[in-house]
């Protein structure tokens, strides 16, 4: 085995790939060759580090030096100074990795310090395309343990006692689901993995598949043993090409090594798996629509019961879990149910991965123990709101969730608390909004998404969400009436209570939660025809403040539709409202702050 004195980990997640990590790896290889360091320093392309905002990211070991926003031109210095001469290039380190002149290793950085990585433990640590590296980090040890030391019912018992709940959104106790599938009658059973992550801004499942694909292979084989299935399907979005590639490599490598296929570990247990590509319909993340899609049918939900555990893929009992749920399984097997149940809150055990986005400094992926407060995630880990703006709300649960205002920031995050606040855990999207976000516009955005993604099968969701969107459009255009708010509430109730699937039943949540917490904003739109956050174009007015206008004419020059009249040096300028397209160019151009928006 080759030994290296230094390991250079380069993030190869989707974020860092788009910001150019491939070029950086090529440059590193070139530089290492130039300095004849190829035998001393090893470059490893890993999965996502989580701090996407600071990408491309390089971490070197043994020092744990955390370079961020690395550019191709920086590679020469990193190689010469750090890798050759052993001097860390301080000015290229991540901003929080140098505190009062002292260099902090990656684990000591505030962003990572408060996280606890279970599902993401190998992401950003190993080369996801290497079976050996996965094995070196205890990979397939849990499968070995399960097959050689445990009976299927023991495995289910461990999952049950661990308190693991579905990470895809619903939060159903996973152990129960495993138990139902195991007890269901059928000559053939399947396990399936839901990797059809579709919430806007959510990318945790993608990161697990890109950073640690073998964990899914291992967990599904364990699940197969527990429920009595010999075949698994991973339903994954075709829009995740890196994840698809790496999972495909993992499946092939595992098969080659005898970790998938016939007679695994010589125990007589057979298990194999296949990838099914989704075409990007949001509804296919709903379990019964996903099953239809796997069968080659139109992605429309089926009525439940029968539940997939009884009649799933091709009407056979099917265990369907989400990527992040599976990613926890090998660790639970290895460390025990009590270890996992020791993390988190009374009813929500373990950790949860969140994709932080919106108005937040540290955009990226974080994994925290359940029970961490929203405030800790947003301020301590997420670094707070940029540009000194005030926090307004945090949206969790994607199009099925709701907006939580500042008063509730001290709420410990768990399934039940978020539901009590009118939101939900969802798959883990967390979008932060500041004072510049209009809550009516946010509700409209999510509803627009739902209308676009409704499968069209059931009446309340198909017709109802469309009408709700039309009302919201009206309100944001200043044509709303107070009775529209009642109509929204009434439609919401019908859609929630009568829709066929979970997507319809939760579709009104973004509207209901904003109506509940930010009703005054709706009322301002409807009664005063004003958008307090200054977002809704139709309700905006740009006006020149006569006392401040210096008659310079710069605004008129900048106006793209020539709707500002005045005489340079003589007359105060006036904006013709009927022609104004509300682009804001005048506001930006005025050197005297003589134009106001409102």
């Amino acid at each position: 085995m080759e030994l290296f004195r230094s390991h250079v980990l380069v993030c190869g997640g989707t974020g860092c790939t788009s910001s150019g990590c491939q070029k950086i790896i090529a440059k590193l290889d070139e530089q290492l060759e130039k300095h004849q360091l190829e035998k001393e320093v090893k470059v490893i392309k890993t999965g996502c580090f989580g701090l996407c905002e600071a990408g491309p990211i390089i971490v070197t070991y043994p020092e744990g030096a955390f370079y961020s926003r690395v550019e191709e031109k920086d590679v020469e210095r990193i190689t010469e100074e750090h890798l050759l001469k052993g001097r860390i290039v301080t000015d290229l380190l991540y901003k929080d990795a140098v505190i009062d002149g002292e260099i902090k290793s990656v684990d000591e950085v505030e962003f990572y310090k408060r996280q606890q990585r279970v599902a993401l433990r190998n992401c950003g640590v190993i080369n996801p395309e290497s079976l050996e590296e996965y094995i070196a980090f205890d990979g397939y040890k849990a499968l070995g343990k399960v097959l050689t030391e445990m009976k299927p019912e023991d495995v289910i018992d461990v999952i049950k006692r661990s308190g693991l709940r579905g990470r895809g959104g619903g939060g159903f106790p996973s152990g129960l689901k495993w138990d139902f599938t195991a007890k269901a009658e059928g000559d053939q059973k399947y396990v399936a993995c839901n990797a059809d992550e579709g919430d806007p801004g959510a990318f945790m499942d993608r990161s697990v598949l890109e950073g640690d694909p073998h964990v899914i292979v291992e967990a599904m084989a364990i699940a197969g043993y527990a429920v009595g299935a010999d075949m698994g399907y991973v339903y994954i979005r075709a829009e995740y090409p890196i994840a698809v590639d790496r999972l495909d490599i993992a499946i092939k490598e595992a098969r080659k090594a005898g970790l998938l296929g016939k007679n695994i570990f010589g125990t007589g247990f057979n298990f194999d798996m296949e990838i099914r590509l989704g075409a990007g319909a949001f509804v296919c993340g709903e379990e019964t629509a996903l099953i239809n899609s796997i069968e080659g049918k139109r992605g429309m939900p089926r009525p439940r019961p029968p539940f997939p555990a009884v009649k799933g893929i091709w009407n056979k009992p099917t265990l369907l879990n989400n990527v992040e749920t599976y990613a926890n399984v090998p660790q639970i097997i290895l460390n025990g149910a009590d270890w996992f149940a020791g993390i988190g809150t009374e009813k929500s055990k373990g950790t949860k991965v969140f994709a932080l986005g919106g108005k937040i400094n540290n955009t990226g992926l974080v994994e925290i123990p359940m029970g961490t407060t929203l405030k800790e995630v947003i301020y301590d880990i997420g670094g707070g709101i940029p540009n000194g703006k005030a926090f307004k709300a945090v949206q969790t649960g994607g199009p099925s969730g709701g907006c939580i205002p500042a008063d509730h920031l001290d709420t410990p995050i768990d399934y039940d608390n978020l539901i009590a606040l009118g939101s939900m855990m969802g798959s883990g999207g967390m979008i932060v909004m500041d004072e510049d976000n209009c809550m009516v516009d946010i509700a409209r955005f999510f509803l627009d998404f739902t209308v676009e993604e409704s499968c069209g099968k059931c009446t309340p969701c198909r017709e109802g969400t469309k009408r709700m969107l039309e009302i919201l459009d009206r309100i944001t255009e200043g044509k709303g009436e107070l009775s529209d708010l009642d109509k929204l509430e009434s439609l919401s109730k019908t859609i929630k209570t009568a829709s066929l699937c979970g997507l319809g039943q939760t579709a009104p949540n973004p509207v209901l939660s904003t109506l509940h917490y930010f009703r005054h904003e709706y009322e301002a739109h409807v009664n005063d025809k004003k958008c307090p956050a200054g977002v809704c174009q139709e309700l905006l007015q740009y006006v020149v403040i006569p006392e401040l206008c210096k008659k310079c004419g710069i605004c008129a020059k900048k106006c793209p539709v020539s709707c500002i009249d005045g005489v340079k040096g003589k007359e105060v300028y006036i904006i013709r409202q009927e022609d104004c397209v509300k682009c804001g160019a005048c506001l930006e151009a005025c050197p005297f702050k003589a134009i106001k928006k409102g």
């Binding site: 429309m300 089926r302 099968k457 059931c458 019908t494 039943q505």
Partner: protein, 306 residues
């Protein structure tokens, strides 16, 4: 079959354990409104008109797909269920042309029946509506997509016959509509005009083109007859106005009965006193034909010397 006990609208009854709520309710004469439900077809729970209140359940339950359980307490007309049903009907009417005065389906349209029952009216709105897209390219089938409520019965019944499977759903969300093959016109599709879809459509989206404008439902009396073209013996109705047969209509194709154009034309020719000229498809186009041609009798007749 084991029976279990349930309570529906305060009335306790014993029903076979494999019943759904809608089937159990039928036992005591309670007709739960439903557009997408058909005992002969797969249950899909799409229209949601049949939602009822079940004690202890978080949401309203679709009566057509929810299996009964021991001791279940169901209210089919609770305030919540009725309000929700009315709102769903209102949503359907919001997206339906207000032309019941001239619609051939008036009088036997399920949407009309339920709107009447629950006193739900058309209302003015500026929102989007389904596109009015009448397809009368098939001389036997009058298709009006603007009236479709997307119950999907036509798709399910069409898909029951293995080598047909012409109809399916196209697009999604508000844009969802029923498509023939690759969203072709009926004449350009592989449809064989068997009329299964006409027999199940609860509204005026799919109607028999040969009955259009002939009579109102309330002027019509019917008489049941059986087709004798093949051993299936499909059920037909003779539609009569003033005692005269003006059209024939295929009844719902129950299990094992395929329905076919030849059978329908035979019944038509046998009984209809105002029979219209038949059409056959030649080189992909519908053309007028003789009855010998339409019924494929040419060789037989010449052999019989007629």
């Amino acid at each position: 079959m084991k029976t279990i006990s349930v309570t529906i609208n305060g009335k306790k009854l014993q029903v076979p354990e494999n019943y759904t709520i809608i089937e159990a309710a039928k036992e005591i004469g309670i007709d739960i409104p439903a557009l997408c439900y058909d005992p002969n077809l797969d249950k899909v729970g799409a229209c949601r008109i049949c939602v009822v209140e079940v004690e202890g359940a978080r949401n309203l339950m679709a009566a057509c797909t929810t299996p009964i359980t021991e001791g279940m307490v169901i209210s089919t007309e609770s305030k919540n269920a009725v309000e929700t049903r009315k709102e769903i009907l209102r949503l359907l009417l919001d997206n339906h042309p207000n032309d019941c005065l001239v619609c051939n389906k008036a009088g036997e349209c399920k949407l009309q029946e339920y709107a009447f029952k629950y006193d739900v009216k058309f209302r003015q709105h500026d929102g989007e509506r389904r596109q009015a897209k009448v397809d009368n390219t098939n001389p036997y089938i009058h298709r009006d997509d603007s009236k479709c409520v997307l119950c999907g019965k036509c798709v399910r019944t069409c898909n029951k016959v293995e080598d047909r499977k012409v109809l399916s759903f196209g697009e999604r969300g508000f844009e969802t509509h029923i498509v023939a093959d690759y969203d072709n016109l009926m004449a350009d599709s592989s449809c064989v005009s068997c009329a299964r879809c006409l027999a199940v459509c609860p509204v005026g989206a799919l109607m028999d083109a040969r009955t259009m404008g002939k009579a109102r439902v309330w002027e019509t009396t019917t008489e049941d007859v059986k087709c004798t073209v093949c051993e299936y013996g499909c059920d037909f109705e003779l539609l009569k106005k003033n005692g005269k047969v003006y059209a024939v209509r295929a009844k719902s194709p129950v299990e094992g009965r395929p329905l076919c154009l030849k059978g329908r034309l035979s019944v038509d020719l046998t009984y209809n006193e105002e029979v219209q000229v038949p059409y056959v498809k030649k080189d992909g186009k519908f053309v007028e034909a003789t009855w010998e041609e339409a019924l494929g009798l040419g060789k037989l007749l010449s052999k019989l010397g007629k």
